[in-house]
Amino acid sequence: PASAQDAKIGFIVKQPEEPWFQDEWKFADQAAKEKGFTLVKIGAEDGEKLMSAIDNLGAQGAQGFVVCTPDVKLGPGIVAKAAANNLKMMTVDDRLVDAAGKPLEDVPHMGISATKIGEAVGQGIVDEMKARGWKPEEVGAIRVSYDQLPTAVDRVEGAISVLKANGFKAENIFPAPQAKTDTEAALNAATVVLNAHAGIKKWVAFGLNDEAVLGAVRATESVGIPADGVIGVGIGGADSAINEFKKPTATGFVGTVIISPKRHGYETATNMYEWVANGKQPEKLTLTSGALAKRDTFQQVRKELGIE
């Protein structure tokens, strides 16, 4: 076991520019400061960069790392690479699977499944619809999709399953494929859907993340659908979502499912440190849960999740 001073732990994430991962890193840094170990943060957008990152950690003399992989199918490769570099590893957010698609149970993991988050979104929408007294058959749903990313598919499918279970008709769900994952692309894609179905006056929207749903909400505004005719629920609790809640008047962006970057960042880093420094193996599987934040509750939710 290494002492605190020379304990070095890597924290690799798949999309370093995303606020979510920035937060994870921030909380991992906090753990590093408290425990006195060195944290190495590396962004790895694809499999090749990830492999290089692990080599790089090995070269730097790190003892272990936490990783959110760009693709869960990389599982066996990552495990082999970590072993070759003699590094302990655990995963966060996305759980590794083997070639057959079964989770790699040996690798400690903390996270929440994409489908579960999607279901939380779906539930949020359904609840709001009930509160507003909407009937499912008069409502259109915009599925802002980015099918290139498996996680995105799992999330929207999760939401759709809840909608359907609550009486939503499949033919009222309209895909709006975004060419890129930014708000503008979602906006353009959603605008087309809205214009193609000008008869529908009530809309719900869901997608990969807050930005996607924001795009859909902006689209409803630009074609003149009032805020009380729109229910958009995002994922992530990013600042762009919080901004919506801070706007003087309510928009169609009703809520966002916030996952706690604090637990994912702080706890995984601490667990890894305990492992390399004190030989204490982390739990094989820790599941966290998301919480729906709305205009009136977001501050409280954030506090509960330890973000503020």
Binding site: Q148, A176, P177, K180, T183, E184, N195, E211, S222
Partner: protein, 316 residues
């Protein structure tokens, strides 16, 4: 006289003809396409690409290349939001964004013209640097707009047409005029057509190139501001990959990468073809993965048709 007619139909502006035919076919075949709402949505969706294409046309016509436009649009959008949030004045925000855009463009132009560094590498470098600045200045987060008046930039309408579309149309007119009627435009074409001859003829090549890039920066800022207003926040990750869309639109519109050849009409058509392709694919519910293929085929088809047309003309 038929020769005259032929020349117009098949000459430089021939892609316009193809466009008109294609537009008619699409309008007839695709339901919901030719509705007022969809047309407005279509126009709004090409605003960013269209605005930036105006100056990219100059850049390519002068044998240069600019990869930094996406980053600059994102960065200036952030600047506009941050500055107007801090000062409470939308005008200050817009001014700050335009200045920042001009500065980035000026740096590009200065490095490329004065140090004679390859434009691809230079703008690839500034693309990274500016994106980094956007991320750092906001800590990687979106920044919401405080003053709802800012949203009005994108939401307001004049004669039923949204302001951004008017701005786009205005820029098309202005830059079309600049390209064909001004010394600056002629010099740009000359530099692209034969840099050596232009230099020897006393054209201030360096100054012209710097101006082109600075203008490009300003125009990116316009696009960035409108984008921020449209998505009601400054996002550091906005407009990734914009450069490729813009450059393809220009090339599709007949701008030569070897410099010296550009028409505004062509570029407008290039921009519209790309916009219509996206629009129609979504209207027709083409699954995401197949959209890639369709997008590729449309690109190929458009240039092939244009080519066939012009070679048919040459053979006559």
């Amino acid at each position: 006289m038929t020769n005259q007619l032929k020349k117009i139909l098949l000459g430089d502006q021939g892609i316009v003809l193809i466009f008109i035919v294609a537009f008619t076919i699409v309008a007839l075949l695709v339901p919901n396409f030719l509705t007022e709402r969809n047309m407005l949505g279509l126009l709004q969706s090409v605003v960013t690409v269209g605005i930036v294409a105006c100056t990219m046309m100059f850049c390519l016509a002068a044998r240069d290349f600019d990869l930094s436009v996406g980053s600059t649009a994102a960065f200036t959008g952030m600047v506009a939001v941050m500055a107007s949030n801090t000062t409470g004045s939308i005008l200050v925000g817009i001014g700050a964004a335009l200045l920042c855009g001009a500065f980035v463009g000026f740096v590009n132009g200065f490095v490329i013209a004065k140090f004679r560094i390859n434009a691809l590498i230079t703008t690839l470098a500034t693309m990274q640097i500016v994106r980094g600045l956007a991320l750092i200045s906001s800590d990687g987060r979106a920044i919401g707009i405080n003053d709802p008046g800012f949203y009005q930039l994108a939401l307001s309408k004049l004669f039923g047409i949204p302001t951004p579309v008017w701005i786009l149309a205005g820029l098309f007119v202005i830059f079309g005029f600049v390209l064909n009627r001004t010394v600056f435009g002629k010099n740009t074409l000359a530099i692209g057509g034969n840099p050596e001859a232009s230099r020897l003829a006393g054209v201030n090549v360096d100054k012209t190139r710097i101006w082109i890039f600075a203008l490009q920066g300003v125009v990116c800022a316009v696009a960035g501001i409108l984008l921020a207003s449209r998505i009601t926040s400054g996002q550091p990750n906005a407009a990734v990959g914009l450069e490729l869309s813009v450059i393809s639109a220009c090339v599709l519109g007949g701008v030569s990468l070897a410099g010296g050849r550009a028409t505004m009409a062509g570029v407008i058509v290039g921009v519209m073809i790309m916009g219509i392709a996206e629009n129609v694919m979504n209207l027709m519910n083409i699954p995401a993965f197949y959209q890639y293929i369709v997008r590729g085929l449309i690109l190929l088809l458009a240039v092939m048709l244009d080519n066939l047309r012009s070679s048919a003309f040459i053979r006559r």
